[in-house]
Each structure stands twice: as structure tokens, then as C-alpha cells.
Amino acid sequence: MIKVDVGLCLGCLSCSNVCPSQNITRTETGEMRSIHWKRCKEECDLCVEFCPAKALTLVPFDETVPEPDVSFELVACKICGSRYATEPMLKRIESALPANMQKDSEGLEWIRVCPACRRNIEAERATKQMVLGRSRKSP
């Protein structure tokens, strides 16, 4: 059976992805992501092995222990407002990357921006440079 350290869980769904018997289920509404671990009797520890946060451990089967549930409010993109990640996942990225990488050349904290907006920003920057180069008159 799986024991979950709720304080460590990132809400990344790794465990749910690797579980061969669909014992870890996910529900995602617009604003919330919930993960539910069924009481399982398997002697498999794939979810434990592939948890990036080491939040899972295997414990002996016990019917009286309630099935664990975790819910995360999804973080909204600073620019477009779409919900794109859980707070612990973003915190993990922020602690993994060096501080000087976390702001771009214009001071934008890009980790708090969703991937779709990051692509737009990149396109706009490259265009600005190109247009500047084209309109620059020769000396």
C-alpha cells in the first residue's frame, strides 16, 4: 500500500503515469488538480521509484487507513491567466535553477508565465530585433 507525504507531493502526476494498474487516479477541473491513491495490494514500487519528490513509501496493507487524496489549486499565468501548473512544481523549478536564470533580459519572472505565453514573448522579441535590423538605415 502507498503512503503519501502530502507536504512533499508536487502534484506532478508522475506516479499516476507510471502505475501499471491504474491505482492512482487524477481529476482535473479548470482550477484544481486532485490525485487519489487507491489502497493497493500490489508489490510493485514503480510510483515510489519515480516520484521526483520522494513523497511516496510502501507500507503494509491496512484496510482501516483511509485512501489518501491531495488537491492542488493550479497557478494562473501572470500574463494570460490560464491555469498551467501546481505551486509546488513551480517552487521546485525555482529552487533548481540558478537565480540569474529566473529573470529574462527584461526582468520578467518567466517561470510564472505559462509555456504558450513564453512562446509568444520569444516570437515578439525576435520580430522586434528583425524589424529593427531592417529599418536601420546605412550610415
Binding site: 508536487l10 506532478c12 502526476l13 508522475s14 503515469n17 507510471v18 519515480f50 521526483p52 498551467y84 501548473a85 512544481m89 513551480l90 521546485r92 523549478i93 533548481a96 535553477l97 536564470m101 529574462d104 518567466w110 517561470i111 505559462c114 509555456p115 504558450a116 505565453c117 513564453r118 512562446r119 509568444n120 520569444e122 516570437a123 515578439e124 525576435a126 520580430t127 528583425m130 524589424v131 535590423g133 531592417r134 529599418s135 536601420r136 538605415k137 546605412s138
Partner: protein, 145 residues
């Protein structure tokens, strides 16, 4: 070697997008963006030297292989941390991650061989040679460069 873009040549036909999808079983890794009415530009992986996605990946599925940021599908758990760590938004996850692999196993990336405007190339020198020749033309004839 990564794919370089000369965006002043991009005509926004999205052929690269289609070519990428064609050789990657329907899920491509290029997005052509249109910026107002002034430009179009394909957005895809830069194969960063110090790649954030490889730092975020905890299983080693994303890793550097020379200049290439390579992806080992067997090690991916679909956690999505790489997607959040990429500053350019060019790692996707759909149960598992997918990103530009520079068309591993092909002679040249499909987007490069397909682009009808020669906006994409694997030759870093090409873009700077073109810029120099534009500058030389401008110096000789005046006007734009």
C-alpha cells in the same frame, strides 16, 4: 547541431510545422507564430548549452549529447517539470514529454529540408554570412541593410 532561423526569410507558410508533424507521428515540436502583420517565426527548441530542462528532469530522460538536448523516452515519467523549466515553452508534455530531437537518424532535420524560403539551416555561419553580405550591399548601394 541546432537549427538556426533567419526570420527575415520566413514566409509564414507553416511547412516546417507540417514537416515536423509528418516525421514525428503527428505531434510536432514547431509552432509558427505570427506577430501582428510584421513577421512570422517558427518557435522551437534552441538546444541550449546549459539546458534548464535537463536540470529539471530527475530521471535523466532529458540530457545533453554533445550539442543536442536529447530525450530518452523510456526514462520519462511525464511529470512535466521540463515543460515548466523551459524559458521558451518548447518542451511539450502529453502523458510523456516531447521536444525537437533534430530528426535523429535522418540526414538533416525535416524542417530544414522542407522550408521553401531557406529560412532554416543547421549552419550557424550562414546567418552571419547573409548579414555581412546585406551590410556590404548596403554600403555599396545605400539603402537598407
Amino acid at each position: 547541431m541546432p537549427v538556426y532561423i533567419d526570420i527575415s526569410r520566413c514566409i509564414g507558410c507553416r511547412s516546417c510545422e507540417v514537416a515536423c508533424q509528418r516525421v514525428h507521428g503527428g505531434s510536432g515540436h514547431i509552432n509558427v507564430h505570427f506577430v501582428g502583420d510584421s513577421a512570422s517565426i517558427p518557435i522551437f527548441c534552441h538546444h541550449c548549452e546549459e539546458a534548464n530542462c535537463t536540470v529539471a528532469c530527475f530521471t535523466g530522460a532529458l540530457h545533453k549529447e554533445g550539442e543536442r538536448t536529447a530525450f530518452d523516452v523510456d526514462k520519462c515519467t511525464g511529470c512535466g517539470l521540463c515543460k515548466l523549466a523551459c524559458p521558451f515553452g518548447v518542451v511539450w508534455t502529453n502523458k510523456i514529454a516531447h521536444k525537437c530531437d533534430l530528426c535523429e537518424g535522418r540526414d538533416a532535420p525535416a524542417c530544414v529540408t522542407t522550408c521553401p524560403a531557406n529560412a532554416l539551416s543547421t549552419d550557424f555561419e550562414l546567418a552571419s554570412r547573409r548579414a555581412r553580405s546585406r551590410a556590404a550591399r548596403a554600403a555599396a548601394y545605400g539603402g537598407r541593410r
